[in-house]
Amino acid sequence: MDGVFTVNGKKCEFAFKTDERLLFTLRNHGFTEVKNGCLEGECGACLVLLDDKPVNSCQVFTASAVGQDIKTIKGIGNLHKPHIIQEAFVDVGAVQCGFCTPGMVLASYALLQENSNPSKAEIKSALDGNLCRCTGYVKIIEAVQLAAKRIRENGGHHE
Protein backbone atom coordinates (compact mmCIF):
# COMPACT_ATOMS: atom_id res chain seq x y z
CA MET A 1 0.00 0.00 0.00
CA ASP A 2 0.96 3.69 -0.19
CA GLY A 3 0.89 6.57 2.19
CA VAL A 4 2.10 10.12 2.60
CA PHE A 5 4.12 11.03 5.63
CA THR A 6 6.05 14.10 6.72
CA VAL A 7 9.62 13.09 7.51
CA ASN A 8 11.99 15.71 8.88
CA GLY A 9 9.75 18.42 7.53
CA LYS A 10 9.39 17.03 4.03
CA LYS A 11 6.34 15.37 2.54
CA CYS A 12 7.26 11.82 1.49
CA GLU A 13 5.20 9.20 -0.30
CA PHE A 14 6.17 5.67 0.66
CA ALA A 15 5.10 2.31 -0.71
CA PHE A 16 5.11 -0.31 2.01
CA LYS A 17 3.76 -3.74 2.87
CA THR A 18 0.57 -3.98 4.86
CA ASP A 19 2.26 -5.57 7.87
CA GLU A 20 5.46 -3.53 7.62
CA ARG A 21 6.93 -1.76 10.61
CA LEU A 22 7.74 1.93 10.39
CA LEU A 23 11.41 1.14 11.17
CA PHE A 24 11.80 -0.80 7.93
CA THR A 25 9.80 1.64 5.83
CA LEU A 26 12.09 4.43 6.96
CA ARG A 27 15.30 2.42 6.47
CA ASN A 28 14.16 1.14 3.06
CA HIS A 29 13.66 4.74 1.95
CA GLY A 30 17.13 5.83 2.93
CA PHE A 31 16.61 6.89 6.54
CA THR A 32 19.28 4.49 7.73
CA GLU A 33 20.04 6.72 10.71
CA VAL A 34 17.12 4.90 12.36
CA LYS A 35 18.76 1.72 13.69
CA ASN A 36 17.55 -1.84 14.23
CA GLY A 37 18.78 -3.15 17.57
CA CYS A 38 16.24 -5.66 18.85
CA LEU A 39 12.83 -5.48 17.11
CA GLU A 40 11.05 -5.76 20.46
CA GLY A 41 10.79 -2.18 21.70
CA GLU A 42 13.43 -2.65 24.39
CA CYS A 43 16.62 -1.02 23.11
CA GLY A 44 15.48 2.34 21.69
CA ALA A 45 17.91 2.28 18.75
CA CYS A 46 14.93 2.72 16.42
CA LEU A 47 13.44 5.62 18.39
CA VAL A 48 11.88 8.41 16.30
CA LEU A 49 9.52 11.25 17.16
CA LEU A 50 6.00 10.56 15.91
CA ASP A 51 3.94 13.74 16.15
CA ASP A 52 6.67 14.93 18.55
CA LYS A 53 6.35 11.92 20.85
CA PRO A 54 9.24 9.44 21.22
CA VAL A 55 8.20 5.98 20.00
CA ASN A 56 9.99 2.77 18.99
CA SER A 57 9.54 2.70 15.23
CA CYS A 58 9.91 -1.08 15.32
CA GLN A 59 6.65 -1.22 17.28
CA VAL A 60 4.61 0.91 14.88
CA PHE A 61 2.76 -0.44 11.85
CA THR A 62 3.56 1.95 9.00
CA ALA A 63 -0.11 1.76 8.03
CA SER A 64 -0.97 3.18 11.44
CA ALA A 65 1.24 6.20 10.99
CA VAL A 66 -0.01 7.41 7.62
CA GLY A 67 -0.31 11.19 7.52
CA GLN A 68 1.72 11.69 10.68
CA ASP A 69 4.83 13.76 11.33
CA ILE A 70 8.06 11.84 11.82
CA LYS A 71 11.39 13.19 13.02
CA THR A 72 14.59 11.20 12.85
CA ILE A 73 17.95 12.35 14.24
CA LYS A 74 18.62 14.09 10.94
CA GLY A 75 15.56 16.21 11.52
CA ILE A 76 16.98 18.07 14.48
CA GLY A 77 20.49 18.85 13.33
CA ASN A 78 23.24 17.92 10.88
CA LEU A 79 27.03 17.92 10.47
CA HIS A 80 27.08 21.57 9.44
CA LYS A 81 24.51 22.78 11.92
CA PRO A 82 24.26 20.35 14.80
CA HIS A 83 21.65 20.65 17.49
CA ILE A 84 22.80 21.80 20.92
CA ILE A 85 22.07 18.31 22.26
CA GLN A 86 24.22 16.69 19.57
CA GLU A 87 27.07 19.07 20.37
CA ALA A 88 26.75 18.39 24.08
CA PHE A 89 26.98 14.65 23.47
CA VAL A 90 30.15 15.21 21.45
CA ASP A 91 31.68 17.60 23.97
CA VAL A 92 31.39 15.43 27.08
CA GLY A 93 32.37 12.14 25.42
CA ALA A 94 28.89 10.61 25.45
CA VAL A 95 29.37 9.06 21.99
CA GLN A 96 31.39 5.86 21.79
CA CYS A 97 30.19 3.46 19.10
CA GLY A 98 27.31 5.78 18.29
CA PHE A 99 24.73 3.11 17.54
CA CYS A 100 22.46 4.14 20.43
CA THR A 101 23.14 7.83 19.90
CA PRO A 102 20.36 8.78 17.47
CA GLY A 103 17.73 7.24 19.76
CA MET A 104 19.37 8.64 22.88
CA VAL A 105 19.55 12.17 21.44
CA LEU A 106 15.93 12.11 20.27
CA ALA A 107 14.73 10.87 23.66
CA SER A 108 16.69 13.71 25.27
CA TYR A 109 15.23 16.16 22.77
CA ALA A 110 11.70 15.05 23.62
CA LEU A 111 12.46 15.49 27.33
CA LEU A 112 13.91 18.97 26.93
CA GLN A 113 10.94 20.10 24.84
CA GLU A 114 8.70 19.36 27.83
CA ASN A 115 11.05 20.12 30.68
CA SER A 116 13.77 22.70 30.22
CA ASN A 117 15.36 22.10 33.61
CA PRO A 118 15.14 18.40 34.33
CA SER A 119 16.61 16.89 37.46
CA LYS A 120 19.06 14.02 37.17
CA ALA A 121 16.26 11.64 38.15
CA GLU A 122 14.02 13.03 35.42
CA ILE A 123 16.77 12.62 32.84
CA LYS A 124 17.39 9.04 33.90
CA SER A 125 13.70 8.29 33.72
CA ALA A 126 13.30 9.83 30.26
CA LEU A 127 16.09 7.56 28.97
CA ASP A 128 14.61 4.38 30.45
CA GLY A 129 13.90 3.05 26.94
CA ASN A 130 17.42 3.49 25.52
CA LEU A 131 20.10 0.85 25.99
CA CYS A 132 23.79 1.67 25.75
CA ARG A 133 26.50 -0.92 26.38
CA CYS A 134 29.52 1.28 25.65
CA THR A 135 29.30 4.30 27.90
CA GLY A 136 27.72 3.06 31.10
CA TYR A 137 25.38 6.09 30.77
CA VAL A 138 27.54 8.35 32.95
CA LYS A 139 28.48 10.78 30.21
CA ILE A 140 25.12 10.52 28.49
CA ILE A 141 23.42 11.87 31.61
CA GLU A 142 26.06 14.61 31.79
CA ALA A 143 25.44 15.45 28.14
CA VAL A 144 21.74 15.98 28.70
CA GLN A 145 22.41 18.16 31.74
CA LEU A 146 24.87 20.22 29.71
CA ALA A 147 22.48 20.51 26.77
CA ALA A 148 19.67 21.64 29.08
CA LYS A 149 21.93 24.30 30.55
CA ARG A 150 23.08 25.54 27.16
CA ILE A 151 19.55 25.69 25.79
CA ARG A 152 18.40 27.68 28.81
CA GLU A 153 21.33 30.04 28.41
CA ASN A 154 20.46 30.37 24.74
CA GLY A 155 17.03 31.65 25.65
CA GLY A 156 15.33 28.33 25.05
CA HIS A 157 16.53 28.00 21.46
CA HIS A 158 18.06 24.81 20.25
CA GLU A 159 20.52 26.18 17.72
Binding site: D19, R21, L50, V55, A110, D128
Partner: protein, 269 residues
Protein backbone atom coordinates in the same frame (compact mmCIF):
# COMPACT_ATOMS: atom_id res chain seq x y z
CA UNK B 1 4.53 -11.98 4.89
CA UNK B 2 0.98 -11.37 5.77
CA UNK B 3 -1.31 -9.37 3.55
CA UNK B 4 -3.52 -7.32 5.83
CA UNK B 5 -6.48 -5.16 4.90
CA UNK B 6 -6.48 -1.86 6.68
CA UNK B 7 -9.71 -0.11 7.51
CA UNK B 8 -10.00 3.51 8.61
CA UNK B 9 -13.62 3.89 9.87
CA UNK B 10 -14.84 7.39 10.64
CA UNK B 11 -17.78 6.51 12.89
CA UNK B 12 -18.54 4.10 15.70
CA UNK B 13 -21.19 2.49 13.57
CA UNK B 14 -18.68 1.71 10.85
CA UNK B 15 -16.16 0.37 13.37
CA UNK B 16 -18.81 -1.75 15.04
CA UNK B 17 -19.73 -3.31 11.70
CA UNK B 18 -16.11 -4.00 10.80
CA UNK B 19 -15.26 -5.65 14.07
CA UNK B 20 -18.04 -8.19 13.60
CA UNK B 21 -15.78 -9.90 11.05
CA UNK B 22 -14.02 -12.55 13.07
CA UNK B 23 -10.65 -12.20 11.43
CA UNK B 24 -10.53 -8.42 11.70
CA UNK B 25 -8.97 -6.91 14.82
CA UNK B 26 -9.06 -3.38 16.17
CA UNK B 27 -5.73 -1.57 16.45
CA UNK B 28 -5.24 1.64 18.40
CA UNK B 29 -1.51 2.00 17.83
CA UNK B 30 -0.53 -0.29 20.69
CA UNK B 31 2.25 -2.84 20.73
CA UNK B 32 0.30 -6.01 21.53
CA UNK B 33 -0.47 -7.03 17.96
CA UNK B 34 3.14 -6.59 16.89
CA UNK B 35 4.16 -9.29 19.34
CA UNK B 36 1.56 -11.66 18.04
CA UNK B 37 1.32 -14.13 15.22
CA UNK B 38 -1.12 -12.54 12.78
CA UNK B 39 -1.52 -15.57 10.52
CA UNK B 40 -5.23 -15.84 11.40
CA UNK B 41 -5.88 -12.14 10.97
CA UNK B 42 -7.06 -10.70 7.67
CA UNK B 43 -7.49 -7.08 8.58
CA UNK B 44 -6.85 -4.36 11.10
CA UNK B 45 -9.14 -1.51 12.01
CA UNK B 46 -7.14 1.66 12.50
CA UNK B 47 -8.89 3.51 15.30
CA UNK B 48 -7.04 6.81 15.28
CA UNK B 49 -9.78 8.72 13.40
CA UNK B 50 -12.41 7.88 15.99
CA UNK B 51 -13.12 9.96 19.10
CA UNK B 52 -11.54 7.38 21.41
CA UNK B 53 -8.82 9.53 22.88
CA UNK B 54 -10.77 11.52 25.39
CA UNK B 55 -10.63 11.32 29.15
CA UNK B 56 -13.75 12.52 30.91
CA UNK B 57 -13.54 13.28 34.59
CA UNK B 58 -16.89 14.33 35.96
CA UNK B 59 -18.19 14.35 39.46
CA UNK B 60 -17.08 11.05 40.85
CA UNK B 61 -16.76 9.31 37.51
CA UNK B 62 -13.91 8.74 35.11
CA UNK B 63 -14.24 7.53 31.53
CA UNK B 64 -11.09 6.83 29.51
CA UNK B 65 -11.20 6.31 25.76
CA UNK B 66 -9.70 2.99 24.71
CA UNK B 67 -7.11 4.51 22.38
CA UNK B 68 -5.61 6.69 25.11
CA UNK B 69 -1.99 5.75 25.66
CA UNK B 70 -0.49 5.11 29.07
CA UNK B 71 1.42 8.40 28.77
CA UNK B 72 -1.76 10.31 27.97
CA UNK B 73 -3.67 8.78 30.89
CA UNK B 74 -0.85 9.60 33.31
CA UNK B 75 -0.54 13.12 32.01
CA UNK B 76 -4.27 13.91 32.20
CA UNK B 77 -5.02 12.22 35.53
CA UNK B 78 -1.96 13.79 37.13
CA UNK B 79 -3.49 17.23 36.60
CA UNK B 80 -6.53 16.23 38.58
CA UNK B 81 -5.05 13.88 41.15
CA UNK B 82 -1.29 13.11 41.12
CA UNK B 83 -1.90 10.32 43.64
CA UNK B 84 -4.47 8.54 41.53
CA UNK B 85 -3.87 4.80 41.42
CA UNK B 86 -3.74 4.79 37.62
CA UNK B 87 -1.00 7.42 37.67
CA UNK B 88 0.92 5.31 40.18
CA UNK B 89 0.51 2.14 38.13
CA UNK B 90 1.17 3.43 34.65
CA UNK B 91 3.85 6.10 35.01
CA UNK B 92 6.64 3.52 35.41
CA UNK B 93 5.23 0.79 33.19
CA UNK B 94 7.33 -0.51 30.26
CA UNK B 95 9.49 2.47 29.19
CA UNK B 96 9.06 6.02 27.93
CA UNK B 97 8.65 5.35 24.18
CA UNK B 98 6.43 2.31 24.81
CA UNK B 99 4.16 4.32 27.11
CA UNK B 100 3.51 6.57 24.11
CA UNK B 101 2.00 3.64 22.21
CA UNK B 102 0.50 1.15 24.67
CA UNK B 103 -3.24 1.82 24.76
CA UNK B 104 -5.74 1.25 27.53
CA UNK B 105 -8.02 -0.77 25.25
CA UNK B 106 -5.24 -2.85 23.78
CA UNK B 107 -3.86 -3.50 27.21
CA UNK B 108 -7.22 -4.66 28.58
CA UNK B 109 -7.82 -6.89 25.57
CA UNK B 110 -4.39 -8.51 25.82
CA UNK B 111 -4.09 -8.66 29.65
CA UNK B 112 -0.63 -10.21 29.82
CA UNK B 113 0.54 -11.55 33.20
CA UNK B 114 2.85 -8.55 33.53
CA UNK B 115 0.04 -6.01 33.10
CA UNK B 116 0.43 -2.94 35.31
CA UNK B 117 -3.08 -1.81 34.41
CA UNK B 118 -5.35 -4.66 35.35
CA UNK B 119 -4.83 -4.58 39.09
CA UNK B 120 -6.06 -1.00 39.23
CA UNK B 121 -9.07 -1.61 37.01
CA UNK B 122 -10.10 -4.65 39.03
CA UNK B 123 -9.62 -2.79 42.31
CA UNK B 124 -11.68 0.12 40.99
CA UNK B 125 -14.51 -2.18 39.85
CA UNK B 126 -14.11 -0.71 36.38
CA UNK B 127 -16.43 -1.45 33.50
CA UNK B 128 -15.44 -1.84 29.85
CA UNK B 129 -17.67 -0.32 27.21
CA UNK B 130 -18.02 -2.54 24.14
CA UNK B 131 -19.43 -2.15 20.66
CA UNK B 132 -19.96 -4.85 18.06
CA UNK B 133 -21.53 -8.21 18.72
CA UNK B 134 -21.36 -7.48 22.45
CA UNK B 135 -22.65 -4.03 23.09
CA UNK B 136 -22.78 -2.07 26.35
CA UNK B 137 -20.98 -1.96 29.69
CA UNK B 138 -19.46 -5.03 31.26
CA UNK B 139 -17.70 -5.38 34.62
CA UNK B 140 -13.96 -5.90 34.12
CA UNK B 141 -13.85 -9.27 35.83
CA UNK B 142 -16.63 -10.53 33.64
CA UNK B 143 -14.72 -9.33 30.58
CA UNK B 144 -11.60 -11.13 31.77
CA UNK B 145 -13.35 -14.41 32.46
CA UNK B 146 -15.79 -14.55 29.56
CA UNK B 147 -13.85 -15.05 26.33
CA UNK B 148 -16.97 -14.70 24.22
CA UNK B 149 -17.09 -11.00 25.07
CA UNK B 150 -13.97 -10.49 22.98
CA UNK B 151 -15.40 -12.03 19.87
CA UNK B 152 -16.39 -9.58 17.15
CA UNK B 153 -16.40 -6.80 19.69
CA UNK B 154 -14.26 -3.82 20.50
CA UNK B 155 -13.54 -1.77 23.61
CA UNK B 156 -14.36 1.90 23.21
CA UNK B 157 -13.78 3.00 26.78
CA UNK B 158 -13.25 1.97 30.37
CA UNK B 159 -15.21 3.58 33.21
CA UNK B 160 -14.97 3.62 36.95
CA UNK B 161 -16.28 5.62 39.85
CA UNK B 162 -13.79 7.84 41.55
CA UNK B 163 -13.91 7.19 45.24
CA UNK B 164 -11.77 8.29 48.11
CA UNK B 165 -8.98 5.77 48.32
CA UNK B 166 -5.43 5.87 49.50
CA UNK B 167 -3.55 3.89 46.88
CA UNK B 168 -0.20 2.43 45.96
CA UNK B 169 1.39 0.16 43.39
CA UNK B 170 4.42 -2.15 43.62
CA UNK B 171 6.22 -3.92 40.78
CA UNK B 172 8.55 -6.87 41.22
CA UNK B 173 11.24 -6.06 38.66
CA UNK B 174 14.89 -6.80 37.93
CA UNK B 175 15.68 -3.44 36.31
CA UNK B 176 13.61 -0.24 36.09
CA UNK B 177 12.42 -1.06 32.58
CA UNK B 178 11.12 -4.60 33.03
CA UNK B 179 7.94 -6.60 32.77
CA UNK B 180 7.11 -7.30 36.41
CA UNK B 181 7.06 -10.87 37.69
CA UNK B 182 4.13 -9.76 39.78
CA UNK B 183 2.65 -6.44 40.80
CA UNK B 184 0.51 -5.31 43.75
CA UNK B 185 -2.32 -2.81 43.61
CA UNK B 186 -3.58 -1.71 47.00
CA UNK B 187 -6.49 0.63 47.77
CA UNK B 188 -7.23 1.55 51.35
CA UNK B 189 -9.95 3.66 52.89
CA UNK B 190 -8.96 4.96 56.27
CA UNK B 191 -11.26 6.54 58.81
CA UNK B 192 -9.12 8.34 61.38
CA UNK B 193 -7.79 5.36 63.31
CA UNK B 194 -8.84 2.33 61.40
CA UNK B 195 -9.16 0.80 57.97
CA UNK B 196 -12.69 0.98 56.69
CA UNK B 197 -12.28 -0.80 53.35
CA UNK B 198 -9.55 -2.28 51.21
CA UNK B 199 -8.94 -3.74 47.78
CA UNK B 200 -5.80 -5.78 47.22
CA UNK B 201 -5.04 -7.30 43.81
CA UNK B 202 -1.90 -9.20 42.84
CA UNK B 203 -1.36 -9.62 39.09
CA UNK B 204 1.00 -12.27 37.74
CA UNK B 205 -0.17 -15.27 39.73
CA UNK B 206 -0.99 -18.62 38.14
CA UNK B 207 -4.62 -17.61 37.76
CA UNK B 208 -3.44 -14.34 36.18
CA UNK B 209 -4.64 -12.26 39.09
CA UNK B 210 -5.61 -12.85 42.68
CA UNK B 211 -7.78 -10.77 44.98
CA UNK B 212 -6.10 -11.24 48.33
CA UNK B 213 -9.24 -11.48 50.44
CA UNK B 214 -7.35 -12.92 53.40
CA UNK B 215 -5.46 -9.66 53.81
CA UNK B 216 -8.51 -7.53 53.03
CA UNK B 217 -10.42 -9.32 55.79
CA UNK B 218 -7.54 -8.83 58.19
CA UNK B 219 -7.40 -5.12 57.48
CA UNK B 220 -11.07 -4.19 57.30
CA UNK B 221 -12.13 -2.75 60.61
CA UNK B 222 -8.69 -3.06 62.18
CA UNK B 223 -7.05 -0.20 64.03
CA UNK B 224 -3.99 1.15 62.24
CA UNK B 225 -1.83 0.73 65.32
CA UNK B 226 -2.69 -2.97 65.40
CA UNK B 227 -1.61 -3.72 61.87
CA UNK B 228 1.43 -6.01 61.72
CA UNK B 229 3.55 -6.59 58.59
CA UNK B 230 4.43 -10.03 59.78
CA UNK B 231 0.79 -10.97 60.03
CA UNK B 232 0.12 -9.67 56.52
CA UNK B 233 3.03 -11.72 55.15
CA UNK B 234 1.74 -14.84 56.80
CA UNK B 235 -1.65 -14.38 55.20
CA UNK B 236 -0.20 -14.24 51.71
CA UNK B 237 -0.16 -17.57 49.93
CA UNK B 238 0.12 -17.08 46.19
CA UNK B 239 0.95 -19.44 43.36
CA UNK B 240 3.36 -18.33 40.66
CA UNK B 241 4.30 -20.18 37.48
CA UNK B 242 7.95 -19.18 37.16
CA UNK B 243 7.26 -18.08 33.58
CA UNK B 244 9.25 -14.87 34.04
CA UNK B 245 12.24 -17.02 35.00
CA UNK B 246 11.53 -16.37 38.63
CA UNK B 247 11.58 -18.82 41.53
CA UNK B 248 7.87 -19.37 42.35
CA UNK B 249 8.38 -20.14 46.03
CA UNK B 250 10.54 -17.08 46.48
CA UNK B 251 8.04 -14.95 44.57
CA UNK B 252 5.39 -15.90 47.09
CA UNK B 253 7.65 -14.93 49.98
CA UNK B 254 8.65 -11.66 48.30
CA UNK B 255 5.05 -10.85 47.43
CA UNK B 256 4.06 -11.21 51.05
CA UNK B 257 6.90 -9.10 52.40
CA UNK B 258 6.38 -6.30 49.88
CA UNK B 259 2.63 -6.28 50.46
CA UNK B 260 3.18 -5.92 54.19
CA UNK B 261 5.60 -3.08 53.63
CA UNK B 262 3.31 -1.28 51.20
CA UNK B 263 0.40 -1.34 53.62
CA UNK B 264 2.51 -0.18 56.56
CA UNK B 265 3.81 2.70 54.49
CA UNK B 266 0.35 3.63 53.29
CA UNK B 267 -1.23 3.72 56.73
CA UNK B 268 1.56 5.68 58.32
CA UNK B 269 1.76 8.40 55.66
Amino acid sequence: MKELNWYYPKTFADAGKLVRQETVLPHGGGTGLLLRNLSNTDGLIELSHLPLKTINITNGSVEIGSVCTYAEVVSELKKVDPNHILVKCLHHSANTPLRNRITIGGSIAMFPPWSDLMGALIALDAKVVLIGKNDGEFPIIEYINDKTLRKESMITAVKFKNADWRSDHYREIRTKSDMPTFNHTVLLRIDETKIVASRIIVVGTTSKFTCVYAVENYLNGRKIDDIRSAKIESLVSLKFTGSRFDDPDYSNIKAGIELGRMIQKMVRS
